[in-house]
Amino acid sequence: MRRNTATLLTLPVGAVALAIAIGGLLLPRAAAAQDGEKLFKTTCAACHSIGGGRLVGPDLQGVTERRTKEWLHQFIPASQKMVKDGDPTAVELFAEYNNIPMPDQPLTAVQVDAILGYVQASGAPPAADGGGGEAAPEPTPAPVEPPATPEQIQLGQDLFTGETRLAHGGPSCISCHDVTNDAIIGGGILARELTTVFGRLGGNGVRAILGSPPFPVMQAAYEDRSLEEAEVVALVSFLEQVSSEQSNHLPRDTGLKLAASGAVGTVLLLLLYSLIWGNRKRGSVNQAIYDRQVDSI
């Protein structure tokens, strides 16, 4: 028995060794993704342009001149931490961009350098305002769009709840996001509440995020299943309507209802079990013999 236990205990050690070997084989893959342009497009382009004016966040043209390398390396992976620590530039930027936090980017230093290299290379000569100011380039005028039709808003709502599936099979928005709107069921709360997202980010911001999500969880969910242009337009028009109508709708308590249904369901289950196994043998098999012996003393 002692020998058996010993053999069993050596197993994790072996397993660790094997896993490390596998890990060693896998590690080189991680270093492969250093293509600055590709990284910029998947990670930054939703909110930042290079020389195209401000979107959700600042135009990044000339950013490598405006800020030091150390500052950028600190800001990109953990911008909110810098705001909380009171870095003056970070606090100023946060206020200037309507207190919309930049999501922390899980990038290695090498990847950040690759992106900054790309930004530097593809930006035309840096803005001539002598640095410091953020408001340098004129924003590109947004294309004038016709107002959303009711059909588009309805399509957006159906896409949001999943009643109309997204063409490439991505999960519906309601999986992770909630909005205050009586027309649909309570949404998910894994990710941000979206009632005011249109008001905060504007049509361009929402469109940019839907086109190429900068958040890792959302990115993985829509990998190889990106949204079509028409779907993005419909969703943006739905979110615009949600944002403008928010005062007509009450917040719901979906979570409480879910918990209560679960609790009631559990009680019903226990009742069901007692019905099904009502005539089971109670007590142990030898209970009768035991009782009889005690009685017969």
């Binding site: 058996n4 397993a15 896998l26 519906s172 999986s175 992770c176 709360i189 142990s284």
Partner: protein, 242 residues
């Protein structure tokens, strides 16, 4: 932080899976007759029923649900397309999840208070029961605090789990998840890792043939009514020694 994440969601899952497969095989080869959970139904039956039934039935359904979302995520997303179906699925999952919690708390209470059960309890039994309890509490927390899990599991965690099996882990999404969900995922691998060293090995020896087994007919060669009467002595001379 990244090192810890890599350990929790890349290295440890492989350690757990390898240990699970090889360890269970070794344990079965070496101590075949001890691949069991050592039934305690003879020692105590009433509390056992109210613990074991909600626990095991709930576990089969909830674990089956996780497995389906892992194997056929597209089907789960399609099912969740109708809000009514999404709610039916989630309420069912939460119901059985809570029944697991109720059953497990009952079983733990029974194991810690009943003298007969205490006599056959090992420290590992308590350890694994606490681990399961933590995992179930985290699971209910995830279901209620980060809804709708059935959808985002299919969209985010199924690709992650598949990527582990394809030996090219895609972990960006898992690294960015809230810590409660991360602990629940890590807990799952930890339980898998513990299987060969605990009573959990009994999942491989479930007596499924009992379901279709013909009835056993028991015949008694004496008058049962007389024997059942406590006044009747067992033998013509009453026993003197008890």
């Amino acid at each position: 932080m990244n090192t810890l994440n890599t350990f929790m969601f890349v290295a440890f899952p492989y350690v757990a899976m390898i240990t699970f497969v090889i360890g269970t095989a070794i344990r079965y080869r070496q101590t075949g007759f001890k691949v069991s959970s050592l039934s305690s139904q003879f020692l105590e039956g009433k509390k056992l029923f109210w613990g074991v039934m909600p626990f095991h039935i709930g576990l089969l359904i909830v674990l089956g649900g996780h497995l389906l979302a892992f194997l056929v995520p597209a089907a789960i997303l399609a099912w969740n397309g109708q809000p009514v179906r999404l709610i039916i699925l989630e309420v069912t999952a939460v119901t059985f999840g809570m029944s697991i919690l109720v059953g497990l708390v009952g079983l733990l209470h029974r194991r810690l208070t009943n003298e007969r059960i205490k006599a056959v309890t090992t420290r590992m039994d308590i350890a694994i029961e606490l681990l399961l309890l933590a995992q179930v509490v985290l699971g209910c927390w995830v279901a209620l605090g980060f809804r709708w899990g059935s959808s985002w599991f299919a969209a985010d965690l199924s690709p992650y789990l598949w990527s582990l099996f394809k030996l090219s882990p895609e972990t960006a999404a898992v690294f960015a998840l809230p810590v409660v969900i991360k602990l629940h995922i890590f807990g799952a691998f930890l339980i898998l890792f513990m299987v060969p060293f605990t009573r959990l090995v009994h999942i491989f020896v479930a007596p499924l043939h009992y379901i279709s087994r013909p009835y056993q007919q028991v015949m008694w060669n004496w008058n049962k009514d007389r024997i059942r009467d406590p006044k009747t002595p067992w033998s013509p001379t009453r026993p003197k020694n008890n």
